[in-house]
Amino acid sequence: MGSRRMTMNAHDTNADDWLEQVLRTDAREHAASYLPDDGFTARVVERLPQPAALPSWRRPILIALWSLVAVAVIAALPMWFEDVFRGIVTLFIGQRIRLADFALLLTLLGGITWSALFLAARTE
């Protein structure tokens, strides 16, 4: 492989150029010699930056905060639900809803529900 590429590189030189031979021989020896690892890889891995991770004390605090937010949302939900329901009723009163529109709405809701369930249930 080496000599093939070398020949391409050396197209501008005389084939029996003695320096070319010296360089080729040196390159062959260089390619054949393998430097033993001798702990080099371990030293590199040791110096890699630490992975970004939350400190252990921040995790329970974050969980507690999100739980608080969830409780607040749940407490406020009945009022919101009523508002949303009134809005929908106001929107649709006086309008004719066809069966096809209703079916489309149901299909969309079903699709969204299944997608949400799939996303929540997948492991990765």
């Binding site: 492989m1 080496g2 590429r5 070398m6 391409m8 590189n9 501008d12 030189t13 003695w18 320096l19 010296v22 360089l23 080729r24 021989t25 040196d26 390159a27 020896e29 260089h30 390619a31 010699s33 393998y34 430097l35 033993p36 690892d37 080099f40 890889t41 371990a42 030293r43 590199v44 891995v45 110096r47 890699l48 930056p49 992975p51």
Partner: protein, 189 residues
């Protein structure tokens, strides 16, 4: 040698997606020899400096792995980082003295007539290394990429960050200088 079961590209993907340090250590293990050897040539045989630069090369590779577009081989990308690390270090150490040129004007084979072939080859190797040390950084790098790392002129141009024509010029000049330095080794016409 059979190709490894897991390709470089797969290992790189694992590092990028899962921050898999084991995968990165495998990449280092695979390429450490060629990168360190290349840097030893660039630093004219300074093994300690070459290993420091090789460590720096792999750390930079880890930090910038996202920018590796897989347009070239991973090893070529590593050579480029290694060469840039070498250049940055060379700029810092510019004031440090170069090898004594007085001894290197023309390297003469020792006891050429009596030397056995093995001793003669070893002696030529030493003289070649000393002659390589007298080349400019760019000339030495061009020779190393084209001969020792077995890159085409085009690939070497990518590694060295210069046009192909410049690589060819560096190789030509380097060979002219080496010829002059090692003239005594040339076979009689």
């Amino acid at each position: 040698m059979s190709p490894p079961a897991v390709s470089d590209a797969q290992l790189i993907a694992r590092v990028l997606v899962q921050d898999d340090r084991h995968a990165f250590s495998e990449l280092v293990r695979r390429h450490q020899s060629t990168v360190r050897a290349c840097l030893r040539k660039l630093t004219a045989g300074n093994a300690a400096l070459a290993d420091d630069l090789a460590q720096e090369t792999f750390l930079l590779a880890y930090r910038n792995l996202k920018s590796f577009r897989q347009e070239s081989k991973f090893s070529t990308w590593l050579y480029r980082i290694a060469y840039n690390a070498f250049l940055a270090d060379a700029r810092k150490m510019k004031e440090s003295p170069l090898p004594d040129d007085a001894d290197l004007d023309t390297l003469v084979p020792e006891d050429e007539q009596d030397a056995k072939p093995v001793a003669r080859a070893a002696s030529l190797k030493v003289d070649l290394e000393r002659a390589m040390a007298t080349l400019s950084d760019a000339e030495r790098a061009a020779i190393i990429q084209c001969y020792h790392n077995d890159l085409s002129h085009e690939e070497a141009a990518v590694v060295l960050g210069c046009p192909v024509g410049t690589v060819k010029t560096h190789v030509l000049r380097a060979k002219q200088k080496l010829k002059a330095r090692l003239g005594a080794w040339a076979p009689a016409a």
